[in-house]
Amino acid sequence: MSKSLFAYRKFNALFIVLFLSWTITHIWIVHNVFKFSWLTSIWDSIIYNTILAGCAIIISLVLLFYKPVAKSIWISLLMVLVITYIWVEKSPFFLSFVNISENNYLEFINQSFSVRFIFGLMINSSVLGVSWFWYGIEEQQEQTKRRQKLEDLAKEAELLSLRQKLQPHFLFNSLNSISALVVVKPEQARTMIHQLSDFLRSTLRQEENKKFSIIEEMDQLDLYLAIEKVRFGHRLNTKIEIDKNIDAQVPAMILQPVVENAIKFGLYDTTGTVDINIKVTHTNKVVTIEVSNPYDPSTRFANDKGTGFGLNSIQRRLYLLYARNDLLQIKEEENLFITKISIPQ
């Protein structure tokens, strides 16, 4: 439901100013041009114009509640015609309540009938036109807003689901490791439970669109790597290169999936030691994160883990957040698979 035109203070002020200035002009014309007394001129102007203003308000309100489609605009025009006619026809009735002594006044009313009718038609049609466009624009704006809201909701839902898909297997395997440690190394089991809890808590941060400092995210990543090292300790080596003074913001949970993907790719594509190198640089208002993992080029195409869900979902998230498709790049160097993501600042 749109708001009535008269709900806007500025519009009301304009309406009153127009009404008063015309009423005064009207008085002046009747007095000076048609030589009636001031009293007669004032009554004539006030009665005719007040009723006309009332008609205009009615027309505008009718349009607020009943918006004719473009095809049936003639119905509105007909309404304007009828209202205007009634206005010119019936206004003299109200004049009979005040005592107007001039003899030729009745004659004046009869003679000025067509002029008044045309004037009233002009005013009322203008009101019709203005209301028509105004409410049309309002409705369109509301629709745009609604659509925007729907899109935002869909985006939010998609981001959420993309984020949640990254969790369960990691969680179950970690729990399994803890289950094994409980008997043999209870202390280490407890440490891992705490690391896992801290990690999970941070992944539950709801504000998906909020950005976090890269240092915060790297701490996050350390937790994740600590857990993965308990699981694959004998095979997994990680090296992180980052300037601790970097002051940059990155979306939550974007770093970890890239590293997770690299680790999986490395672990499942080779049988030896897996060296994961993570390098973070900040230049030209762009934070670049490069993650490299070993892989076996001979089974490259047979293995869908490297290009499968992990990277696709990261690409999709970066697109949803930055509307750019070039923020995720991959390259292959000898036996290294390098994933590079750029985050604009």
């Binding site: 369960p168 297997h169 179950f172 395997n173 729990l175 399994n176 490791s177 803890i178 289950s179 094994a180 440690l181 008997v183 043999v184 308990v230 699981r231 694959f232 300790g233 004998h234 672990l267 499942y268 594509d269 080779t270 049988t271 001979s298 089974t299 195409f301 047979a302 293995n303 869908d304």
Partner: protein, 242 residues
């Protein structure tokens, strides 16, 4: 007395199975393996009665490993992925333990193993029934070595008695499977059964020549010519949008 092998790429995951097995002195652990290659070698070398098998592992996964073994032993899958459960039971696995599993659940699995009716693993059943889940690689054994062939490198597959011959640009490999197995496993958008004995990689077909009234010849980019049956020609035409 029975024997077993544990195959899992996570040392702690193996240690939990070992710990649970301590209450079963009658089951002897012959080996622990951390990837599919090692696992396959160990199974062939030791011929165990029972294998605890993880699904996701380096190089080849648990299912691919089973395909490569001639007389598979009893299998208990241990994995965090519940999406393979159906596939595992279709393959007559004894049990499917979802990580993390407790001792009670483990005991039940061992009971099933110890009971008289031990189902033998059926590798022919190791196939996913839906097309949505088609394979993107085929694992074969050649001269005692394991070879992983990406499906796009397969030119065609030919029926060869009880086996099939998988033809790639660098040689042909034999695998103990049926044509219909591959027809189901490979993406129907990439591979077409053009003849009772031939399954061809459509992207490599460069030409289709008329041969006689009933049949045609498909010419591959490598120059190889394969016979096309009448129904095969229909399928090929449909897929190529002719």
């Amino acid at each position: 007395m029975s024997t077993c092998i544990i195959i899992d790429d996570e040392p702690l995951a193996r240690s939990i199975v070992i710990e649970y097995l301590m209450s079963y002195p009658e089951i002897k652990i012959l080996a622990e393996c951390s990837d599919g290659f090692e696992g396959m070698k160990a199974i062939q070398q030791h011929q165990p009665d029972l294998v605890f098998l993880d699904v996701q592992m380096p190089k080849i996964n648990g299912f691919e490993l089973l395909e490569l073994i001639d007389n598979p032993p009893c299998i208990i899958f241990t994995t965090a992925f519940d999406e393979y459960a159906l596939k595992a039971f279709e393959a007559n696995a004894i049990d499917y333990l979802l990580k993390p599993f407790n001792k009670d659940r483990f005991d039940k699995a061992i009971q099933k193993f110890s009971s008289n009716s031990i189902p033998k693993i059926n590798t022919e059943q190791l196939q996913i029934p839906s097309n949505a889940n088609t394979q993107n690689r085929v694992v074969v054994k050649s001269d005692g070595k394991i070879k992983i062939i990406p499906t796009q490198e397969i030119q065609y597959i030919e029926a060869n008695g009880d086996n099939v011959k998988i033809m790639t640009s660098d040689g042909s490999y034999s695998k103990n499977k049926t044509m219909s197995y591959f027809e189901q496993q490979l993406s129907t958008n990439d591979f077409v059964r053009i003849h009772r004995s031939y399954l061809v990689n459509v992207s490599l077909v460069t030409r289709i020549d008329a041969y006689d009234k009933e049949s045609h010849l498909a010419v591959l980019s490598s120059g190889i010519q394969l016979p096309v049956s009448k129904s095969g020609y229909q399928k090929l035409k449909e897929l190529l949008g002719m």
